[in-house]
């Protein structure tokens, strides 16, 4: 069922720079379970887009199949959405982006959709540095089919039925770093103060931005012994830094002790300000990020925050040297060489 939200709007709701209220960024009422982490992530997406004053119709939201992939219906009602097939969202997003480089592409996927059936497409979207934000709503289990372990479930994690997962879990953040991703972050659905600035920074990034968001499944994977439960994640989380997102042309107002703060200017002139909590780590140093990630894993910590960013990243269009104009805006006169040229081509085959 799709529920229609009441149309009533409070007349005094504040508007952002492009004239939209926060409710203009919402979608239909969620049909996910009460307390689902995914709904919190949808809330963070709404807040980030509202605060960044993105015109909602400039966003294309895409997804695969699964609980997570339903969420694009629950935010950004004025954006076109594409709920594709299981594990294939990256290729649809790639084609959409090839057609129009000027839109903002927001892909939502789950751990089954990304780390199992969609692993091939996920990996290759990273390789091509497709300009998009790819959010994984990661709960370590298959919800819609009632709780089977997914490929990101940690070895030893206990399911609701009491069985212990015997297989190694795939760490999407580590894999993305290895593959050369240009923006890699991890967060927690319950931590909006971290997630919202991360989403903003990712939307400002020129290239593939991965945010792996731990998002507990309240129905099937929130039990004692699960490593993706609310309690477990809260107890083991280790943030790399406090994060502030500073829009373009806005002054940095918060100041941290010198030496502990890093400001990274992003492609669109905005910047992320990071107050480091972890030693020996720089978000622009891939090697340091990988080593810090390995260290956290060894210590049983869940590392969150902006793990790595390459502010000079070149996206797919720059790599393949396609026209600066959106290709879908080109007309016959731009594209069709005409009968005269065809006569010359014919001559080459005689």
């Amino acid at each position: 069922m799709t529920y229609i939200k009441p149309k009533f709007r409070h007349p005094d709701l504040p508007k952002n720079a492009v004239g939209f209220t926060k409710t203009d960024y919402e979608g239909v009422i969620s049909t996910l379970c009460a307390g689902c982490g995914h709904d919190s992530i949808s809330g963070s997406i709404v807040q980030a887009c509202y605060e960044m004053s993105i015109e909602p119709h400039r966003v294309a939201k895409l997804s695969g199949i699964g609980c997570s992939s339903k969420t694009p219906n629950y935010f950004l009602n004025n954006s076109h959405g594409f709920n594709s097939v299981h594990g294939r969202m990256p290729s649809v997003a790639t084609g959409a982006n090839m057609a129009n480089r000027d839109l903002i592409y927001l892909g939502v996927s789950g751990d089954g959709d990304t780390a199992s059936i969609g692993m091939g497409q996920f990996v290759h979207a990273i390789r091509r540095n497709l300009n998009m934000l790819y959010i994984v709503m990661n709960n370590g289990c298959y919800g819609l089919t009632k709780g089977q372990d997914s490929a990101t479930a940690d070895a030893g994690s206990v399911s609701k039925s009491g069985s212990v997962n015997p297989f190694e879990g795939i760490d999407l953040v580590g894999m993305a770093l290895e593959l050369g991703a240009t923006f890699v972050a991890r967060s927690f659905s319950g931590d909006k103060t971290q997630l919202v600035p991360l989403i903003k920074a990712a939307l400002s990034h020129n290239g593939f931005a991965l945010i792996d968001v731990l998002s507990p499944c309240v129905t099937f994977n929130n039990n004692v012994g699960s490593t993706k439960s609310y309690d477990y994640v809260r107890d083991h989380i280790e943030a790399l830094a406090e994060i502030g997102y500073v829009p373009e042309k806005e002054e940095i107002t918060v100041s941290y002790d010198s030496g502990s703060s890093v400001d990274v200017e992003l492609h669109d002139g905005s910047s992320v300000q990071l107050h480091k909590l972890a030693e020996g780590w720089d978000p622009r140093d891939r090697q340091a990020a990988m080593s810090r990630l390995q260290q956290a894993k060894a210590e049983g910590e869940i590392l969150t925050g902006l793990v790595y960013v390459d502010p000079d990243s070149k996206d797919l269009h720059e790599i393949i040297k396609s026209d600066k104009r959106p290709l879908n805006s080109l007309k016959e006169e731009d594209l069709c060489p005409g009968a005269g040229v065809l006569a010359m081509i014919n001559d080459e085959f005689r």
Binding site: E55, G95, C336
Partner: protein
């Protein structure tokens, strides 16, 4: 022994080793015939291999303009010891076997009823060239010269082709001409020439061109305004996207910035290739991909989504021999059922079936218009024979007055006008009664026209629904759209004045060459007159059913084992299946007129008894 004789009616086969540069020499031979104004057709019979295995090239010269394959080799040019035994065996009695006699031919290869013409190709090369690679390459030119002298090919024509071939490397013109002339001289000094079997200049090719179907499709996609291609390499479709890339690089690059008005991405597999095509079409670009059977199998999932969510897409299936990996370098028409009903559930797709390169070009342009008009995938069904072999074809034609049909797409103004009338945009509403709804593209309007594209059951406003009645309404509207498609697809072609016979013949695609020749053979040699129809599209136009109705027996000629086209006819039309008689060929080689003639004559003989 009676030697074969005749003018402009012969088959020459070249037996080479793959990867030795023979292709360009063989092509020069074929083009010499063409430039002498004589119709010819060339077939590459090649292995799935890069270097070392046997490969053949067959040229049929036909004054009557028959462009299908013909059984029987009149002249065999054999430079491959590996295949020599079968090559000798394949020569017609009274035919000619040309070989390198630098070494003596083993007695096992001697037939009493074949003429042997030895040319010391390696010997001549050893004398003329010092470099090993040159000896290899120029050996090929020596046999081109020998054939020219034997068949009376005009040497100025051959020289002209060499000059064109090496336009960009003019230093190579002279040595190639020298090698070719060494072959000519050797024949002139050692054999009677020309043979009784020879060629003679005519004026029969008009403004025709010689081009393969993949190149014609690739150029067609450029003219059709395709800007996005996602693809995965697979024989025999690879050269189609490569042609699209080549002509895009030539015609769509800004000379100042070097930026391209095209985006081509080699995908990780065929699933992703088709996903890219859907994403781009959804977002308002014209996008396509090309593949062959194994790739089409993988694309089934997305084809179902495209059908149900009503997303335009263009896909070319260059069919090869199946099942499974099958014969990657041989031809068949055996993906018809897979393509027509690709994906689970009640799903069907529009097919366009071109028969020659010029039609490949036209149907590519039509495919993009139809995909956007009908908001559904259009699958262009070619095959390896059409895609990879060079065909004598009408020139590619484009009418500058032609405009792209972008289909039913609401603009921001349309959406404002709609709401001013108090109407709500519904992505799947049948506004015009033709089963085709209106779509909007992302970013059209800040507050109107957005919708959620999905493969789940949906109502007319693209909202998820589990209401069975609403889902059935959507399925019924898709059937209505299917009926609309029948009216706007390319029409079948009929080969009959009125109904002259109670016997009919149906064929399509590359079978056309052999079928048209078979009609002549049946008339001239068997006294049988047939009416004929060439199918060009699926679903079928009403005239297809009328043609079947009007005849008592209809031979359905196709290049697969299971008579798949016949199944489509039976499945889609209200006809008596008993009237449809199968004539099939599925050995991976293009069907011949003799095979069709024999199949039909044998059946008619049998029912007479």
């Amino acid at each position: 022994m009676r030697n074969l004789t005749g003018v402009n009616d012969l088959v020459v086969r070249f037996a080479n080793v793959n990867g030795t540069g023979s292709a360009s020499a063989n092509n020069m031979f074929a083009m010499s015939i063409f430039r002498m104004g004589i119709p010819m057709t060339a077939k590459n019979i090649f292995p799935s291999n890069i270097q070392g295995l046997p490969t053949w090239y067959e040229v049929r010269v036909s004054e009557k303009g028959y462009l299908g394959r013909r059984e029987g080799v009149d002249i065999m040019l054999c430079v491959n010891p590996q295949s020599m035994k079968q090559d000798v065996a394949s020569v017609k009695p009274g035919g000619y076997f040309l070989y390198d006699n630098t070494k003596n031919l083993h007695k096992d290869f001697i037939r009493e009823d074949v003429n042997y013409i030895g040319i010391p190709m390696i010997g001549i090369c050893m004398r003329l060239y010092s470099d090993a690679r040159q000896r290899q390459l120029f050996k090929n030119m020596i046999y081109v010269g020998a054939l020219a002298a034997l068949l009376d090919i005009e040497l100025e024509v051959v020289k002209g082709i060499i000059a064109d071939e090496f336009k960009k490397k003019p230093k190579l013109i002279e040595p190639n001409v020298q090698a070719m002339m060494a072959g000519v001289t050797y024949i002139k000094e050692n054999y009677e020439h020309p043979l009784g079997l020879r060629v003679e200049r005519r004026d029969l090719v008009g403004d025709a061109i010689v081009i393969d179907g993949n190149t014609a499709c690739g150029i067609g996609a450029v003219y059709a305004g395709a800007t996005v291609a996602g693809w995965y390499p697979i024989t025999p479709s690879t050269s189609l996207v490569e042609a699209f890339a080549k002509y895009s690089n030539r015609l769509r690059v800004d000379p100042e910035t070097g930026l391209k008005k095209v985006a081509i991405v080699q995908a990780e597999d065929e699933l992703a290739a088709f996903g890219m095509v859907l994403g781009a079409n959804w977002n308002g670009a014209r996008a396509f991909t090309a593949t062959s059977g194994p790739g089409l199998s993988l694309m089934n999932e997305f084809l179902g989504l495209a059908y149900f969510a009503e997303i335009p897409a263009v896909l070319v299936d260059v069919q090869r021999g199946g099942p499974s990996t099958g014969m990657p370098t041989r031809t068949q028409q055996s993906d018809l059922l897979l393509a027509a009903y690709a994906s689970h559930g009640d799903t069907k797709h529009v097919l366009l079936i071109p028969s020659n390169p010029s039609e490949c070009f036209d149907f590519m342009a039509d495919a993009f218009d139809l995909a956007e008009r009908l908001q559904t995938p259009i699958i262009v069904m070619t095959d390896l024979d059409l895609g990879m072999n060079e065909h004598l074809s009408a020139p590619l034609k484009w009418d500058d007055a032609r405009r792209y049909d972008r289909g039913k797409v609401y603009t921001a103004e349309d959406l404002d006008a709609l709401s001013a009338m108090g109407k709500q945009f519904g992505r799947y509403l049948d506004v015009d009664g033709d089963g085709i709804p209106y779509r909007t593209l992302p970013a059209t309007h800040p507050t109107k026209g957005s919708f959620f594209t999905r493969g789940t059951s949906h109502d007319e406003y693209a909202r998820y629904t589990e209401d069975g009645v609403k889902n059935a309404q959507v399925l019924d509207r898709l059937t209505k759209k299917w009926d609309t498609a029948k009216e706007i697809l390319p029409l079948p072609e009929f080969y009959q004045a009125q109904n002259e016979s109670n016997i009919g013949m149906i064929f399509f695609g590359t079978t056309t060459y052999a079928a048209l020749e078979a009609i002549d053979l049946l008339k001239q040699e068997e006294g049988i007159t047939l009416d004929a129809m060439r199918a060009t599209a699926f679903p079928f136009h009403a005239s297809v059913e009328a043609f079947i109705e009007a005849h008592d027996q209809i031979f359905v000629i196709e290049q697969n084992r299971d008579a798949q086209f016949r199944t489509l006819l039976i499945n889609e039309l209200e006809i008596n299946p008993k009237k449809l008689i199968k004539v099939l060929n599925y050995d991976g080689m293009p069907i011949t007129a003799d095979a069709i003639r024999n199949g039909i004559a044998k059946h008619l003989e049998a029912i007479k008894l």
